[in-house]
Symmetry: C2
Amino acid sequence: MSNAPQIAEIAALVGDPGRANMLCALLGGRALTATELAFVAGVTPQTASGHIGKLHGARLVVGVKQGRHRYFRLTGPHVAQMLESIMNVALAGPQRFQPKSKVDDQMRHARTCYDHIAGVLGVALAEKLIERNFIVLGDDAGEVTESGAEFLSNLGVDLSAALAKRRIFCRPCLDWTERRPHIGGAVGAALARRCFELKWIERVRDSRALTVTPAGRDGLMEFFALSV
Amino acid sequence: MSNAPQIAEIAALVGDPGRANMLCALLGGRALTATELAFVAGVTPQTASGHIGKLHGARLVVGVKQGRHRYFRLTGPHVAQMLESIMNVALAGPQRFQPKSKVDDQMRHARTCYDHIAGVLGVALAEKLIERNFIVLGDDAGEVTESGAEFLSNLGVDLSAALAKRRIFCRPCLDWTERRPHIGGAVGAALARRCFELKWIERVRDSRALTVTPAGRDGLMEFFALSV
DNA sequence: GGAATATTTCGGCCGGGAACGAATTATTGC
DNA sequence: GCAATAATTCGTTCCCGGCCGAAATATTCC
């Protein structure tokens, strides 16, 4: 028995460079059109359409039709987590040469990782929270402490969804540029949502990268003693 | 930028049915020889050798040479977790027909999942532990309570490794037969190890399946009020 | 030492699937 | 209605990679 065939089927879908590019782009958290996905995959729209059809058929992505556009996004957190875990394995593998570029620097500094913040900023936030004993992180999981819950509450972070589970857990998400964990899971998502609300961070057009606004600069300094 | 190419490379390795079978077999936790892997993949030894070479090159598996055999096992928990997460996505996808068989029933009942216990037994253990408030499980993570730590300690489970991290976290691992979580992570591994030590469970030859011994039947009833 | 077994390397066959061009169908804006 | 854009379908080409047969190498057993 074993469900190996099913695993192989999903993995094969992710195993094509074009489709992998699409999925990674969608890992930014925003919904993208078929044409945009074709662009990131570096293929013609026809080819992209075929790829999207397969991803859609396996429920890796879902699409909503809006006029003559069709917007696609990852089906859910489980897909994002799968991509993360594959990334972790890739990071653990033999080192490979990685050329740098300007866009990279922007991405390296701050970006979205599905629904939370990654990059130098994400890692720094995590370390500040750990330093002040607001969050405890293990290998597999993390927990928000009582004082941490209070701190986040003061910041206006809505933990009600996470609280519904009686305990507030968060998931460490290994950062592929920093190679150190940052805050993911429900807590990471809530924190990121609040940062967007406060207009501390903004998305960069056509990218997963984030910019810190002047207000964000002040806020991060005030609440996290973080200078950017 | 993006690390999509690296993700695609790893995913493509898992995306071949033969290699996926090998990895799933290794998910049983035991080291297997190249010939055994060839058998589970349903290919000739030459072909298997090629597959193994690729898996080894990407550090998905590591091999130790013992005489004229070479034993392979998964490189680490991160590989097991990647396979799990792919499995989760496959489970979330469109339902597919799954033929039953006798071996399946055995597997369905109890089996190893890398380093912990899965199947009906694994899920039942998890539910008993949760019921008595020994463990709290969220979507992303779980935690051992104080009373739970005491209970496990009385059972002789060695939590020192998990304790070294100040908090005892465990990871819920979605069971692909039961579709309900069971106890994974460091805690699940320690619990499984203890069950083997106590000879409550034994591996079935050439399979991931487990059998519950008479001693196990008694022990599970006494400690977990579980009748098998 | 010689037979048996485990594993790997090489070479050639073959199929699946990724790619694009051309054409078709929807939707928007004027 | 008509042009422009978005998206899909069909048909064809072509290459990558899985597969096995044959043979080489290594190790154990007798």
